[in-house]
């Protein structure tokens, strides 16, 4: 049924597929053989079937590259790109955001405590602590605590906001990291 041209084609395919495991190679060649025979049985000239199958070298190459895709995950190229994108954006962003927010959160937090302590000390008579609204506008000793609490609340508020921001940013970062991590979302990418 299959002519010598068909046999030759299958021989070549078999040779080009030599890198595939023995079982897979035999299965693939048998399937193509079945395909050619099926075409002939349906009255299609063998030459037409062979030309549709194309160069056996190319067919073998397609088998190998599809196999690579299967092994490495179809998204590997895209996956690597998105990881690079992640490190470029998140990395640069973190260099800016994390130190600034952390410094503000902890620095301002510490300042809040110091201001309140200063208020207490000044109320108790530590006159070396200066408190003023503007040049020459000293705060009276008895208002020291109120002043300390107001300023402390403002500074503390900024510290608290920065701390919340930092936490949110870190959570956002972890979430994004999880998403670009390869292999976890192989199917609903």
């Amino acid at each position: 049924m299959i002519s010598m041209y068909g046999r030759e084609y299958l021989d070549k395919l078999n040779r080009y597929l030599e890198k595939l495991p023995e079982h897979e190679r035999m299965d693939a060649v048998m399937e193509i053989e079945s395909h050619i025979a099926e075409g002939i049985a349906n009255g299609v000239p063998e030459a037409v079937i062979l030309s549709r199958l194309g160069d056996p070298r190319k067919l073998a190459k397609a088998y190998r590259s599809e196999r690579m895709n299967g092994l490495m995950g179809a998204k590997s190229f895209k996956g690597v790109l998105s990881i690079i994108g992640f490190y470029c954006t998140a990395g640069l962003l973190s260099v800016m955001i994390v130190p600034v927010l952390a410094t503000v959160a902890y620095g301002f937090g510490l300042c809040t405590i110091l201001i309140v302590i200063a208020g207490i000390l000044r109320t108790l008579g530590a006159s070396w602590i200066n408190m003023s609204i503007g040049p020459g506008m000293e705060i009276a000793t008895e208002y020291s605590m109120i002043y300390a609490l107001v300023v402390g609340a403002i500074i503390g508020g900024i510290a608290f906001a920065s701390w919340i921001g930092l936490k949110k940013y870190l959570a956002f970062l972890s979430e994004r990291y999880r998403r670009v991590l390869p292999g976890k979302h192989a199917m609903n990418g």
Binding site: M30, S34, H35, A37, E38, I40, A41, G54, A62, G70
Partner: protein
């Protein structure tokens, strides 16, 4: 980008879905799949694309194969869906509807307010 390149990129994913649908309907063999897909010009597939694609789906355990004698000719290699293949097909079904729905809305309204 050339038109043919765009078409082949779009076609690739859709073809995989169509093959899963065809195999999901009933077990089919390669020659049969080529013949069926040939009926639609945009889905017409060369053997050089189909068989390697089937091999990959097989490798990923979305489909499985078995050889069966035929009355008229040589033994045929049939493919059928596995459970995970059916899951994949169902997910693609939903995804395809979402995508085509979204594209249709954009085509129709060009992103203008559609309320």
């Amino acid at each position: 980008m050339e038109m043919s390149e765009w078409t082949s990129q779009v076609r690739r994913g859709i073809l995989e879905y169509c093959i899963l649908q065809l195999i999901g309907h009933k077990p089919r063999y390669g020659y049969e799949l080529v013949t069926i897909l040939d009926q639609w010009e945009p889905l017409a597939v060369t053997e050089g694309t189909l068989y390697p694609l089937l091999r990959r789906l097989l490798k990923d355990h979305y489909i499985e194969s078995f050889w069966k004698e035929s009355d008229s000719g040589p033994p045929r290699k049939y493919y059928s869906l596995t459970d995970s293949g059916r899951q994949l097909m169902d997910m693609m079904y939903l995804e395809w509807n979402k995508i085509s729905g979204a594209v249709e809305q954009i085509q129709r309204f060009g992103g203008e307010n559609i309320d």
